[in-house]
Symmetry: C2
Subunit: 622 residues, 2 copies
């Protein structure tokens, strides 16, 4: 059963997962301890080990020495996250962000010149986008790259401290170059944010001329990663260092671009970097699985308090309150796993096609926000469920908590991401993603007469069949057709009503006030969208499961659905979709599902196929 | 306004608070950095500084060199928590737990022999209760203390690894003695758990004969505290080392006690140690205040994204979503502050009177659980609200998060505490607190015919007046009478219904199954009780406030109430206490209150009177 379950969860990139499992068993990859310097040094050494093992080549094209396996690359990253997260993030910065920017924003000469050295770590690099003053609103970055036609060079300048590059991984210690995002200025005109390859250190490790580097110092976690700050004081780089796929400057300073609209151009550039966001979601899911595995194993053996009519003391997982802490979270982790698998598959298949890739951006944003918040909440719940033992570093939660905490922030702050999702759902996406500010969005929505269209991302045939069944309001609580209809209705209703509010306010004197008043409503819609994506992915996951695992997965899906309905039941009642009687029945059904799944809790965490080397907590080995 | 507000919040022990503020400005008390050993060494040194400053004397009787100011002692502890939490916990172990056990469980000879050395730290000590196998169910501890009448000694023995003392603060490095909780056996009979003073180290620091000490190693936080494990292999201590206030052994081995019932005796002993639990709540509240102060100050200056119709970029705290992250949490922090103040005052006044102290135990448990969970959630929300900057160690959240994480676990696991609260609310408390196992509780409840009685802990006169007003279901949402009635009704209804379920199941074949099926229901009742305590305390806090601060505090109280109702609105609708229309109006009203209080956010955090030395985060100083 466990093998069958694991094989199903492993899915399309099972081979990559198994290779990663072997790699994770290598003692040389164990988490680095010690001082900040020691952790950083060992993380850098291990980054080279990953490169030697070929992990770095998965996501790059064959013609540059890669393996042309984008899905494998993201899946491998997800698996690495079962181990040390500093190493994971260091690898993500080097291969995913630095390498990814050169691959996607550059052209052949850049790829030929840099990619081999990126994959081998001969050229450690940074992704220098975020500035102290601008983390979320990156179109407003203030670093400048001014073209000097006489010298055929760009001059990179940090105008003030607010525009220094900040939180840049690989910058404080190891980076030799950086892809720097800056406002391109030529002939006195600003053309918006573009990316440039800028050397930041000499071969002896000292800062390059005009570059100032500062250490961000210790962080809550991920201390194997050397985050730093960068200032550029008129740093000159050759014209060719502009990553010129989406905008180029001729020797005489003439600017040219395949995408005339500057906002659309910038968001197209960002869109090619989607891999980072998807990878963070996968990493967060893996950390969550490790935490759940430890907490469930401990809860299976740890006893506390005797009970009348029972011999001995009660095992923690036999308590309803304990089941409720762990099992709904476990069920949602399954939903997220299937959603991530579907997203990675779609990205792998459709990456090269702009029109097909673009809708994946919002899906990636929704899943990233859902998974990383789930990680924060679940790892915390697992720590508490293990009591004082959970607080000891040896039992892993300390690192899991500290290292994953920033996942809700980096690669897109979750709240900002959900707003992007909301905008897309309002219909503004299809043609104009990213182009509309709030005023534009409000006007766009005001002009649309049509109601929201729900586009299914998976399990289309099944969903249609279920919707055709048209379950009534008294359907059995475990009727899947009712689940699907309920989740869809919630999303559609939230969107329709927020659109109506925006339409009413289209002529407001204060568009910000309008946006602000509807902000929470829009975020709710985006969360409802994420839940619906998860349900669809879970349906597809159950449908394709081996027969022996189907009944169990069906029960887990029920728990995911009904614990979600339970959490949102106020909204469903308020909108006439649940009677109060039925709402109470949902609570009782969640209790019943916890009891039903409790005997399978160990199987469910074993199905993740976490290598023994990644579960070092003594409390999980009793 | 800020001064007036601070004076009101400072309350009865304002002088102690001001002394603590001066102390916190002493650079020698700054948090310890460096290796584990360095952190521990500096924390121990700082513990002596606290002793020199006289902080340790507050809570002890004058006749032993103390200052006889229990309330001042707990308030001082709360204030210290604005600074380094390792130092706080180290002090709590030494003065509160070790010293408190000697004071409350021992008799005059013990107090005379030990207390001066406890207060001066000449005798660093441990509180060795928790065992690896028993953390919550401490009546089932398995360490034994067997009386040897011939030698007039107790023999302390750890039967196996499961019974080793675990997570014991001060054990790994500094403790010279420990108050050890063990099953007292004399004349072949076990008399239940008692406390014994056991030397654990020689003057040269090496372990005493028969004592084995192991280091628990690094923890998620609080690494200035040296937690360790202790094994006792037939360690002999004089008969007089039994802390014999609640049970004594004569030279010939005869056992005597003022409390015949062994369960009641043990829970009376535990009850005298209530100070620890109350102190942890105060500490958690202080850490929450620091986090909120940083997040609010940052949100007042940090800008992100421009908006149509507005100049420049928008300040974070102007976004509704950001207000909703911080302001309801700030309002609840005010409620907890007033509840803590009321509890400390009651404890100070009533400690010596067993009958008056006993009801405070459940109140302390409810407030401890509420405050520490609130701390975990709020500090996390504040970190996220500060984005990547919040993740840097220099901005304080890393330590605040890591150090407070275990507060939900130590001094009573929150879930276990809420069960105790639930039992008390069921009426089992008054005469028999702690004596009833679940079977006993179920039977006890079954025999009670009467409905639940709500006992007001504060603001009695005001509450009665409000209840007499009998607001209808259509009362204004900010009608305080409606608030009070709603909170009381929720608690009473949850209790009445859980009692009914227990009554129905009184003759069940499987009492554990009955208990388990109602566990979540009971925990809900305990949470409702905590919310009602907070509301009462807030009412008293508004009532006694200077006129200039009343309107503001009234608004904060509204936000506390309505954000609580919003979070629990599903339950209120399900139980016919909110129409769906009114429920939606509550959400809108919370939005409106956020907008109303937003201009006062800085005033509200400044009112906490946190010394500048405790807010070192650069992002809070911009």
């Amino acid at each position: 059963m466990i093998d069958e379950l694991q094989a199903h969860l492993d899915g399309r990139w099972a081979a990559v997962r198994n290779t990663a499992r072997e790699l994770l068993d290598d003692p040389r990859l164990e988490p680095a301890l010690g001082t900040l310097d020691e952790q950083r040094a060992r993380t850098f050494d291990r980054l080279r080990l990953l490169a030697e093992a070929g992990v770095s080549r998965l996501g790059f094209p064959k013609q540059y020495g890669g393996l042309d396996d984008l899905g494998g690359s993201i899946t491998g990253f997800e698996m690495l996250a079962l181990g040390d997260l500093s190493l994971l993030v260091k690898a993500g910065v080097q291969f995913g962000l630095f390498g990814g920017a050169i691959l996607h924003l550059g052209t052949s000469p850049h790829r030929e010149r840099y990619l081999e050295d990126v994959m081998s770590v001969a050229l450690p690099g940074c992704f220098a986008m975020t500035e102290t003053g601008h983390g979320s609103d990156v179109a407003a970055l203030r670093t400048t790259a001014t073209y000097d036609a006489a010298a055929q060079e760009f001059v990179i300048t940090t105008p003030d401290d607010d525009a220094r590059k900040d939180y840049i991984g690989n910058a404080a210690r190891d980076g030799r170059a950086a892809v720097v995002f800056a406002q391109l200025i030529t002939g006195g005109e600003t053309q918006g944010v573009h990316a440039f390859v800028v050397p930041i250190r000499r071969s002896d490790g000292s800062p390059a001329d005009g570059v100032r580097i500062e250490d961000c110092g210790p962080k809550a976690g991920l201390n194997g990663v050397d985050n730093g700050r960068l200032w550029f004081d008129g740093v000159r780089i050759p014209r060719e260092n502009l990553l010129n796929r989406y905008g180029d400057v001729a020797p005489d300073g003439t600017y040219s671009t395949p995408i005339e609209n500057p906002t659309r151009r910038f968001f197209t550039m960002l869109g090619t970097l989607i891999q980072g966001r998807v990878s963070v979601a996968g990493g967060a899911a893996s950390a969550t699985k490790v935490a759940l595995a430890i907490a469930v194993r401990y809860a299976e053996v740890r006893r506390q308090f005797g009970a009348p009519g029972r011999d001995g003391e009660i095992v923690l997982l036999d308590y309803l309150a304990h089941q409720r802490r762990l099992l709904p979270a476990l069920a949602r982790t399954y939903a997220l796993h299937f959603a991530q698998g579907g997203l990675v598959g779609a990205l792998h298949d459709d990456f090269a096609d702009d029109d097909r890739r673009r809708p994946l951006e919002a899906r990636a944003a929704a899943i990233k926000a859902a998974t990383t918040w789930h990680a924060t909440a679940t790892i915390q719940a697992c720590r508490e469920a293990c009591g004082g033992a959970g607080y000891l570093t040896e039992n892993q939660f300390a690192r899991l908590k500290a290292d994953t905490d920033v996942f809700t922030t980096f690669e897109g702050d979750n709240t900002v991401l959900l707003q992007l999702v909301g905008k897309e759902l309002l219909g503004a996406y299809r043609s104009q993603f990213g182009e509309l500010d709030w005023l534009g969005t409000i006007r766009f929505v005001a002009e649309q007469a049509t109601a929201t269209v729900i586009e299914h991302t998976a399990a289309h045939r099944i969903i249609q069949r279920l919707l055709d069944a048209a379950p009534g309001p008294d359907a059995d609580l475990r009727d899947r057709a009712w689940h699907v209809e309920l989740f869809e209705w919630r999303e559609r209703h939230l969107l329709d009503t927020v659109a109506r509010r925006l339409r009413r306010a289209a002529d407001s004197d204060d568009p910000f006030a309008t946006f602000n008043a509807t902000q929470d409503h829009l975020l709710c819609a985006a969360r409802a969208h994420a839940d619906r994506l998860l349900l669809e992915a879970f349906l597809a996951g159950v449908d394709s499961a081996p027969d022996g695992t189907k009944p169990l997965l069906d029960g887990v899906c029920d728990l995911f659905v009904l614990s979600t309905v339970e959490a949102e039941r106020a909204w469903f009642i308020e909108h006439g979709r649940l009677s109060t009687q039925r709402s109470k029945a949902v609570i009782t059904q969640v209790d019943a599902l916890c009891a039903e799944l409790r005997p399978h809790a160990s199987t469910l965490v074993d199905g993740f196929g976490i290598p023994d080397a990644c579960i070092t907590a003594p409390i999980a080995r009793t």
